[in-house]
């Protein structure tokens, strides 16, 4: 039974990876957005290292957050349009498990590359080398939380006109706790202040919380949208 469920989830995961791989432009959009936005700051603020260093944690985190928001539209929209989502509702497994597999695949293609790319952008933002590990760590803990939380409004706004903008409006306020502790963790390890462990633990706690409620909430939202 459990083996069947895991097999089903794995198949959903593989399907998503395959589909996103064939449509690599959509995956790249979020990543390129992240790169461009962070590149704009040194251009606007000037190459003064001290000033850049001060804003670096915030800029990197806000850019990562916006890039994630941008990618949320791809999570369910195309499956909704072609009717695949209807079929997922007819699966022999709990919908929340299917949604979790979908979210996981989405994160692997958006959040994970974003976190892996961040050290390069950190150098550009003059972030001290000692903080780069924390930056990657905080993004690895934070971006899955962002995708999980974002799945709920993404599911709710399916079929709504102007859904894309609506998703951003709904989701950005929900992202603030993750942003605060994510950016603070990086700032803490960059400066001489508090240790960043506490912030990272909190990000971990957010992730655990989102993992337990988001798949369930977004599957409920999907049922409403498809009714």
């Amino acid at each position: 039974m459990i083996a069947d469920l895991l097999g089903g989830m794995r198949a959903v995961f593989v399907r998503e990876l395959l589909v996103f791989w064939r449509r690599s432009t959509e995956v790249m959009t979020a990543l390129v957005f992240f790169v461009i936005v962070t590149t704009l700051f040194p251009l606007a603020i000037g190459p003064e290292r001290r000033e850049l260093m001060l804003v670096a944690p915030g800029v990197l985190w806000v850019a990562a957050l916006l890039a994630t928001t941008l990618s949320l539209n791809h999570l369910f929209a195309s499956d909704y349009q072609d009717g695949s989502l209807e079929q997922v509702l007819m699966s022999p497994y709990p919908l929340s498990a299917m949604v979790l597999a979908k979210i996981a695949a989405h994160w692997v293609l958006t959040g994970l590359p974003l976190a892996l790319l961040s050290p390069l952008l950190a150098i550009q933002m003059a972030l001290p080398t000692k903080a780069i590990g924390t930056l990657v760590g905080s993004l690895l803990l934070g971006t899955p939380t962002l995708t999980l939380i974002g799945a709920v409004p993404a599911a709710l706004t399916l079929g709504v006109r102007g859904g894309g903008v609506l998703v951003s409006l709904l989701v950005l306020p929900l992202y603030t706790p993750v942003l605060i502790f994510g950016a603070e963790a990086v700032a803490a390890s960059a400066g001489q202040g508090f240790a960043s462990v506490a912030h990272l633990s909190l990000l971990g706690a957010f992730l655990a919380l989102a993992l337990s409620f988001a798949p369930w909430a977004s599957s409920a939202a999907l049922r409403v949208s498809l009714d």
């Binding site: 083996a3 069947d4 097999g7 089903g8 794995r10 198949a11 959903v12 593989v14 399907r15 395959l18 589909v19 064939r22 449509r23 195309s78 499956d79 349009q81 072609d82 009717g83 695949s84 209807e86 079929q87 997922v88 509702l89 007819m90 699966s91 022999p92 497994y93 709990p94 299917m98 498809l226 009714d227």
Partner: protein
């Protein structure tokens, strides 16, 4: 109480604030099929979506093997194959990938139907197996969607206008597919405006349950 494998009692559905139909009763035994008929806008699609659990009816109960569908949850949806207006085909995947993944996602081990290759052969899409589904014609996409029925092997088929975009020969082979399904003890609910030849299928006029019609 009800002896049908699939039994519906007193079903009412609404769209917006308008009642589409009320007090609908329906029974299906193994090997039986219904051809649901009625003019446009009567609520045939709504009925099918309610029957397979995609939308919630306002009133009434649906029983599968004597148990309420709402209590069964996934145990019920695991036995229903629904083909709606949308084909449910991912255009970036090839025809055979679509079927293979559908089989992996939607069937429990030991309950698989035909393999992707066999199903494509049955619907005459063998030559298209390796093509991205978005390059297929409308009719071919429809046939690919119908091939899923064979891959999933589920007892209750719920088909909403399955003949759309199909050529004459395909209409014939699809009705014989439904016939085979019935012969094997399967159940089918078909909404179609198109005439098709299938011995043993009963007509079901939805209009009899719609009181106030505009």
């Amino acid at each position: 109480m009800s002896d049908g494998l699939f039994a519906v009692r007193g079903l009412s559905c609404m769209r917006g604030d308008k009642t589409l139909f009320a007090g609908l009763n329906l029974d299906l035994r193994p090997g039986e099929a219904l051809h649901v008929k009625g003019p446009n806008g009567l609520g045939k699609t709504t009925l099918l979506r309610a029957l397979c659990g995609l939308s919630r009816p306002v009133r009434g109960e649906i029983r599968w093997r004597g148990e309420k569908v709402s209590d069964l949850g996934e145990e019920f949806t695991a036995e229903v194959a629904y083909i709606g207006h949308l084909n449910g085909i991912q255009g970036d995947l090839t025809a055979s990938e679509n079927l293979r993944l559908a089989s992996q996602i939607f069937t429990r081990r030991g309950q698989e139907g035909l393999s992707a290759g066999e199903a494509l052969e049955r619907v005459g899409l063998r030559a298209q197996a390796g093509r991205p589904a978005r390059h297929l014609s409308q009719g071919q996409k429809r046939r690919l969607a119908l091939a899923r029925l064979l891959v999933l092997r589920r007892p209750l088929w719920v088909l909403d206008e399955p003949f759309t975009a199909l050529d004459v020969a395909s209409v014939g082979s699809l009705s014989s597919l439904i016939g085979e399904h019935m012969a094997g003890g399967g159940l089918a609910l078909v909404v179609s405006h198109q005439a098709f030849d299938l011995p043993g299928i009963r007509d079901f006029e939805l209009a009899q349950y719609c009181r106030a019609r505009k």
